[in-house]
């Protein structure tokens, strides 16, 4: 393993994707889950949704997709592999690479959720540049979810407690992100121009940066024995 931080980061990220695509059922399951949730929302909303319901359902589907995405167990979380990896790479780089991997997966999921919503639940609330603003909000939120849940799933897998602990630790921390996002989304859908509501995205970006920094600082302590 090379010692250079950037090379390590790139290698770990591409490695994660390589493993993922070698056994495609994991990632296919994620997308299927998101798609099926959107279709369930379409049935629940009875075909057409008002702007408020459209907004609320989109964020809830994204949130559950995010929880579903981080539920996957990692081979690197096993004690044997961890004690080997500890000798070869920096744990801070490892958590950043894992975050980057989930950020990419979640961005794709957000795209899918957006287009599936447009397909099933109608586009009448998304005239003109509104759709791009809404998609941008979904992407920012997806990135914030990914960075937060990566850190929490690392903690809970180290605790050996599995996915249920991720959900218990994650749900309260997700609430502030969801609050900011839904406010942004409902403002976009009700016709507020992007410049007047873009500060919500800044908050999300700041939150993501803070979580990533905390993860980078704290993760080495999780890896020690």
């Amino acid at each position: 393993m090379p010692n250079n931080a950037w090379t390590q980061f790139r290698f770990l990220t591409t490695h994660a994707f390589r493993v993922e695509f070698r056994q495609k059922h994991g990632i296919a399951g994620l997308f299927l889950f998101a798609l099926a949730s959107v279709y369930a929302c379409y049935q629940v909303a009875g075909g057409r949704a008002s702007a408020e319901i459209w907004n609320a359902l989109a964020w809830v589907v994204l949130m559950f997709s995010a929880f579903n995405a981080v539920a996957k167990p990692w081979a690197e979380d096993s004690p044997e592999l961890r004690s080997y990896l500890k000798t070869t790479l920096r744990p801070g780089i490892w958590i950043l690479a894992r975050m980057a991997y989930y950020v990419l997966i979640m961005s794709l999921l957000a795209l899918l959720v957006f287009f599936a919503f447009a397909l099933f639940l109608g586009t009448e609330h998304l005239g003109g540049s509104r759709s791009w603003s809404f998609l941008l909000g979904l992407e920012f939120t997806a990135v914030a979810f990914a960075s937060l849940l990566t850190l929490l799933s690392a903690i809970s897998s180290r605790a050996g407690a599995g996915f249920s602990l991720t959900a218990v630790l994650g749900l309260p921390l997700i609430i502030p992100i969801i609050l900011i996002s839904t406010r942004y989304g409902s403002e976009i859908l009700s016709g507020v121009i992007f410049g007047d509501t873009a500060h919500h995205l800044l908050f999300l970006a700041g939150l993501t940066g803070g979580i990533a920094t905390l993860g980078y600082i704290l993760f080495p302590y999780l890896w020690r024995d």
Binding site: L165, L169, P172, L173, F203, G210, L222
Partner: protein, 350 residues
């Protein structure tokens, strides 16, 4: 002696705070200025005047009622109201004598009395059917000003009224929670820097456990306050959401501790999560609400209290309350810490 002194001080301060909170009366104020929808003939001006009812709170209008003066004020201009009848110490019927052309439609009501001093009800009167002429000058009535002549009392605030006493519970409870979570934060840093010793971990655990009680009580007192001032047990507000999320995040800390069996691993994971939780607490309770609009006082770009919120009488009880609750919280923390140490020793016994 040194160890018991501050505990006794804390208990004494809280006894003082509770007795003051419950016994000090609330100062007088004005509740309402109502249009009675009828007219009454006035012998002084020789015309019929529309009748309004002034409703006070804790006032003494039936004593020295000759000196009672009721005025309306707008744009620095005063007009005296004719007092028809003083029903009891908090109700009076008055007649409004204003010309058709007035300087402004919106008026404040002032009541002047030798015992209560000057009381103000802002924007109590709105005259929609009159002509506004900013240049008009009303004749200035003779005003006899009185300072208030009351025993020690808490200030009357509209909407809040008697619930101002909750200030001595709600705010110090949150302050104590911050203090305890701060102790936990420092202890968690200590635990991460030296994980061989379990002492810092026990400190963090004890402080979060006690801090949770203060957080839950802070939420409960806040909920009661919201019910009486805003009309609902819970409102969608950045400060309230932040408080609830913070308490849930710390509940997650206790769940995480229960999920891990190995003592050292538990200490390390809990410390990492606790640092995370404290950063979230600071962001949610101290940073974010200041950037967003909120019903909660002290927010919206105005950190903490200002001179309108806290007068001298409140300060005399509020500051001892903060110190007293913090001392009690520290005492509870030390007891819990001792219990945690004993439990650990018992677990370690063969």
């Amino acid at each position: 002696m040194k160890n018991t002194f501050w505990k006794a001080l804390g208990v004494l301060l809280l006894l003082y705070v509770f007795s003051m909170t419950l016994l000090v009366p609330l100062g007088p104020g004005l509740l309402e200025f109502q249009d009675k929808g009828k007219v009454q003939h006035s012998d002084i001006v020789g015309r019929s005047l529309p009748v309004y009812e002034v409703i006070g709170f804790g006032t003494h209008w039936d004593e020295n009622s000759d000196s009672l003066g009721i005025f309306v004020k707008s744009k620095g201009q005063l007009a005296a109201l004719e007092i028809f009848e003083i029903t009891d110490e908090t109700h009076a019927l008055v007649g409004l004598d204003l010309p058709y052309s007035i300087p402004s439609k919106s008026w404040n009501v002032l009541v002047n009395h030798p015992i209560d001093g000057t009381l103000l009800l802002e924007n109590a009167l709105f005259l929609s059917d009159r002509f506004v002429d900013a240049s008009i000058e009303l004749p200035t009535p003779a005003v006899q000003e009185f300072g208030s002549n009351l025993p020690f009392h808490f200030p009357y605030q509209p909407q809040i009224v008697e619930t101002i006493r909750n200030l001595m519970l709600h705010v110090p409870l949150w302050f104590t929670m911050f203090l305890l979570m701060g102790i936990g934060f420092v202890a968690s840093i200590g635990q991460l820097s030296n994980n061989r010793n379990m002492e810092a971990d026990m400190r963090a655990f004890a402080s979060v456990r006690v801090g949770m009680w203060f957080g839950v009580l802070g939420l409960a007192t806040g909920s009661f306050w919201a019910r009486f001032t805003w009309g609902a047990w819970w409102v969608d507000d950045p400060q309230l959401n932040g408080a609830l999320v913070t308490v849930l995040v710390y509940a997650g800390y206790l769940v995480l501790r229960n999920a891990v069996d190995d003592e050292r691993l538990r200490a390390r994971l809990a410390a990492v999560y606790n640092l995370f939780a404290f950063v979230i607490l600071v962001i949610l309770l101290m940073v974010l609400p200041r950037f967003s609009e909120s019903l909660h006082p002290g927010k919206g770009g105005n950190p903490g209290f200002n001179s309108y919120d806290l007068d001298d009488a409140l300060r005399m009880v509020f500051y001892p309350a903060v110190i007293g609750w913090m001392l009690l919280g520290t005492w509870m923390y030390l007891l819990t810490l001792r219990m945690t140490r004993i439990n650990r020793k018992l677990d370690l016994l063969p």
